[in-house]
């Protein structure tokens, strides 16, 4: 590659690189991941390793087949990130093959089949999660309460191996549903929301993450910290997170005001499920989000709205993955019609009228 002569300027560069960007995202994921490990013990570590390693292997294999420089693309970090993100959305005690199959789906089907880095239409991690959720509903919904890694009840190093790789017969005994699942089930039984929440909702635990759920999604506060880090390092812009949270708050707030006994408050929505995690790490995925600032806002509003609709009325208790995939499919359309205004032109693309320009002079 060094023999390639690029002639035209500029000859200065900011120093930004794909691997640096991906590295920053991985760094932002560290708090949530570390917390997940502590929270769910050895099995979650094994599952994480299996998922990420499979992702790297699948990526390498695909690159080899496509005759692309393997090391260069492995080092860009995008494959690792996909595997990592997927692992964060899996139930921490799921068997190893869930992670492996998920990674293979994400890398081969959702990413490399479209042409590799930058070409995929749908977020690979979300494709994998959705496929797994539909194909293996049992394994994908066996959440469990926190089993801190050094606690008495938690499995030790070998016990963890047994759970992840051996299949654990008693796992059913200790699983508990996620908050959103509980709400859906109980509402279905005709219970009133206030009662359900009184039993199963503890805001402090939800924010910090002492709750059943996927490895990376339980702690809203750590997702927020990671997100703020990404905003501060300008890896992501504010548009999608703000639009997504705004849409969710507006809709759930309105519904909650109208009927508090059936619609959870915005706060419940924000801290439960994958929402906080997805706001900062999934929906902001460059490749599958629109290019213009206004487009990003539309995209964010769409994801927030669809998540609320799916959570409230659809069969699945959690809808972030579906919402993101649905909005991913609209991105080409959004990018076609929503573009930034070009200097000296109206939004429609005609040169601005001189009269308008004169108005600026009057101030």
């Amino acid at each position: 590659m060094s023999d390639v002569q690029i002639l035209a300027g500029p000859y200065s560069h900011s120093g930004a690189s794909v691997s640096r960007t991906m590295g920053l995202v991985l760094l932002a994921l560290v708090p949530s991941t570390a917390f997940g490990f502590i929270q769910f013990g050895w099995p979650s570590i094994y599952l994480f390793l299996v998922t990420v390693l499979t992702a790297i292997l699948a990526e390498a294999l695909c690159l080899k087949v496509a005759k692309k420089p393997v090391m260069l693309h492995i080092m860009d970090g995008s494959g690792i990130l996909t595997g990592w993100l997927l692992a964060m959305t899996l139930p921490p005690w799921a068997p190893w093959w869930i992670g492996a199959v998920g990674s293979i789906i994400a890398i081969t089907l959702a990413k490399q089949a479209f042409g590799g880095l930058g070409q995929n239409v749908f977020n690979p991690a979300m494709v994998a999660r959705t496929v797994l959720l539909i194909s293996c509903p049992i394994q994908m919904t066996q959440f469990l309460g926190p089993q801190p890694i050094f606690a008495e009840s938690a499995p030790d190093f070998l016990g963890g191996l047994a759970i992840t790789f051996g299949g654990h017969p008693e796992i059913d005994a200790i699983t508990s549903a996620s908050l959103l699942g509980t709400i859906k089930t109980e509402l279905g039984r005709g219970e009133v929301l206030q009662q359900i929440l009184a039993q199963s909702f503890d805001l402090r635990n939800m924010v910090i993450g002492f709750a059943p759920g996927s490895m990376g999604e339980t702690s809203a506060i750590l997702a927020l910290i990671g997100g703020l880090f990404l905003l501060a390092t300008r890896v992501i812009s504010w548009h999608i997170p703000v639009a997504m949270i705004g849409a969710m708050c507006a809709l759930s707030g309105l519904a909650h005001l109208l009927d508090p006994s059936h619609f959870p408050s915005p706060l419940v929505h924000l801290v439960s499920g994958t929402f906080a995690f997805a706001v900062f790490f999934i929906a902001t995925d460059y490749v599958t989000a629109p290019g213009s600032p206004l487009g990003k806002i539309i995209f964010g509003v769409g994801v927030g709205t669809l998540t609320f609709i799916i959570r409230t009325w659809a069969a699945y208790p959690e809808g972030v993955a579906f919402a993101i995939l649905l909005m991913n499919s609209t991105v080409p359309l959004i990018d076609t019609y929503i573009k930034p205004r070009i200097y000296g032109r109206t939004r429609k693309g005609d040169p601005i009228k001189l009269k308008e320009a004169k108005k600026g002079e009057a101030r």
Partner: protein, 514 residues
């Protein structure tokens, strides 16, 4: 004063510390000078000297031709040894019509036009003087200055903006000029104000040039003829683009494809202002300019007053050569500059710097696929979507790249600068613009061809007809002759035997009629 915001922009490492404290030095004359006939936007100048002529410093060598063009003068006294094609200071390295001058070392001035008192002179005379002096925009585009001044006749102007932003990294020639020649510059501002008939002038200087700002402010305070303001603008590339500077200073947005004059503003570069002042006050034509020599790899960095036509190699030699083989040798700044194809090429009116960049300064990394991170969208000062345009150009869909604003791209390079995938976005755009122009040229040629073919066919048809007509005429003539002859013979015969000859002419006549 309130400043306005522009979209996008970047903050490259200015690297101005390399040369900003070096005083302007006179560059000694080289042994040979190459003066291209086209150093400006518009038509090349028309040479009026011949090989072997002796010229004096400041003598006109080539006259401007057409509405947009500029006159070219001898940078020193000497002999014209060739008028031919010579490698141009252009990325292509292709040759261009050039006058080669061998200096005689005397550096003897020609008789210059008389100094003018600008405020007692009418604007037309001033504009003519500036045109005769061959002054062009020294910021880079080299647009003939007088043409811009004459826009006063077309639109109503209200503000003069002096572009002293100098946002290009490394380049410090305008900074030095402002520090050392502030008085002349402010005088120049007043001259332009008088010429275009405006009362208000704004000098936009980036904040990273505090000394230049101080020097200018001092001089501004000394005069009260015009409302001149020195304004610090934020240090951000590409503040120095005329339309963007206009927006920052006045809030006016120039419509697409239009000139700044259409919103009542004329923009001149600060070095151009100096050249205008010299032309008016002293009758001096534009035969030299300040050039910044910088970059890690050049032994001596500095700012030099270089006669137009000095070969780049001469300047490099004067600066002690390279410390190490430069990774990139550039003419201009590191954002908009072009690679030097040959160091034999000369400095021309629009060249503001020579940069010898080391590997560290230009580190080129492998090109990755676009990850649609949209940092280019955020950096674009024109509101374009560079990644999308490049993708379309890559797929050979040039027209569709135009649909999303390719023609509005100013090639500032902000997008390439921030691209984490190192995609050569600017080169894609340059390629597409050039390729589309070539296509237009081809289409034009095709139309011309059709016209020529029609013309050719019509002419051929005409020739054929003429030939036929000529043949017919000849035949008729021959027949007439024959008839005449026969007639005579018949007449002769008649005198002998009238009955015998009467049948022959008759039959001949019948045949001729048929």
């Amino acid at each position: 004063m309130r400043l306005f915001k522009i979209k996008g922009g970047i903050h490259p490492d200015g690297r101005k510390e390399l040369a900003e404290n070096e005083k302007i030095e006179q560059m000694p004359l080289p042994t040979l000078m190459r003066i291209p006939l086209k150093q400006h936007t518009g038509a090349p100048a028309n040479p009026i000297v011949a090989k072997g002529d002796m010229v004096k410093k400041g003598q006109v060598m080539a006259l401007s031709r057409g509405a947009v063009s500029a006159t070219i003068h001898a940078p020193t006294s000497g002999r014209i040894i060739a008028i031919g094609r010579f490698v141009a200071p252009h990325a292509s390295g292709l040759p261009e019509p050039t006058i080669t001058l061998r200096p005689d070392g005397e550096d003897e001035w020609d008789t210059l036009p008389p100094p003018l008192d600008p405020f007692e002179t009418d604007p037309d005379t001033l504009a003519n003087r500036i045109a005769e002096a061959g002054v062009v925009g020294l910021g880079g585009a080299a647009f003939p200055a007088a043409v811009k001044l004459n826009l006063r006749n077309r639109t109503e102007l209200h503000t003069l903006i002096i572009n002293a932003a100098e946002c290009e990294p490394y380049i410090t020639c305008d900074d030095r000029l402002m520090r050392e020649r502030a008085e002349e510059i402010i005088d120049g501002v007043a001259i332009i104000c008088h010429t275009i008939g405006v009362k208000k002038a704004l000098i936009g200087v980036e904040k990273n040039k505090p000394e230049a700002i101080k020097a200018l402010k001092k001089q501004v305070a000394k005069q009260d003829r015009y409302d001149i303001k020195v304004i610090e603008v934020p240090t951000r590339y590409p503040t120095g683009f005329a339309k963007h500077l206009v927006q920052i200073l006045t809030g006016l947005e120039v419509p697409a494809r239009a000139l700044t004059a259409e919103v009542g503003v004329i923009v001149h570069n600060v070095a151009t202002t100096f050249a205008i002042q010299q032309a008016v006050r002293f009758g001096r034509p534009l035969i030299s300019r300040i050039v910044t020599v910088s970059g890690e790899m050049i032994t001596r960095k500095g700012n030099f007053e270089v006669p137009i036509g000095t070969p780049i190699s001469h300047i490099i030699e004067h600066c002690g050569g390279f410390i190490d083989e430069p990774e990139k040798l550039l003419l201009g700044g590191s954002m908009m500059g072009d690679p030097v194809s040959s160091t034999r090429a000369p400095i021309i009116k629009g060249s503001n710097g020579i940069l010898a960049l080391g590997r560290k300064e230009t580190s080129q990394k492998p090109i990755m696929p676009c990850i649609r991170c949209t940092s280019c969208v955020a950096a674009c000062p024109c509101g374009l979507m560079p990644y999308e345009m490049a993708a379309r150009i890559k797929a050979d869909e040039l027209e569709s790249a135009v649909d999303i604003g390719l023609r509005d791209c100013i090639a500032c390079g902000s997008c390439s600068f921030v691209c984490p995938a190192n995609i050569p976005l600017v080169q894609y755009f340059n390629y597409a613009k050039g390729s589309l122009t070539a296509k237009q040229r081809a289409a034009h040629k095709q139309e011309e061809t059709k016209r020529l073919v029609q013309f050719h066919d019509e002419r051929m048809e005409k020739i054929k007809k003429e030939k036929q007509a000529a043949m017919a005429r000849m035949k008729a003539e021959r027949a007439a002759k024959k008839r005449l002859k026969e007639h005579e013979e018949a007449a002769k015969a008649k005198t002998a035997t009238p009955e015998e000859a009467s049948s022959a002419p008759k039959s001949e006549k019948v045949r001729a009629e048929a």
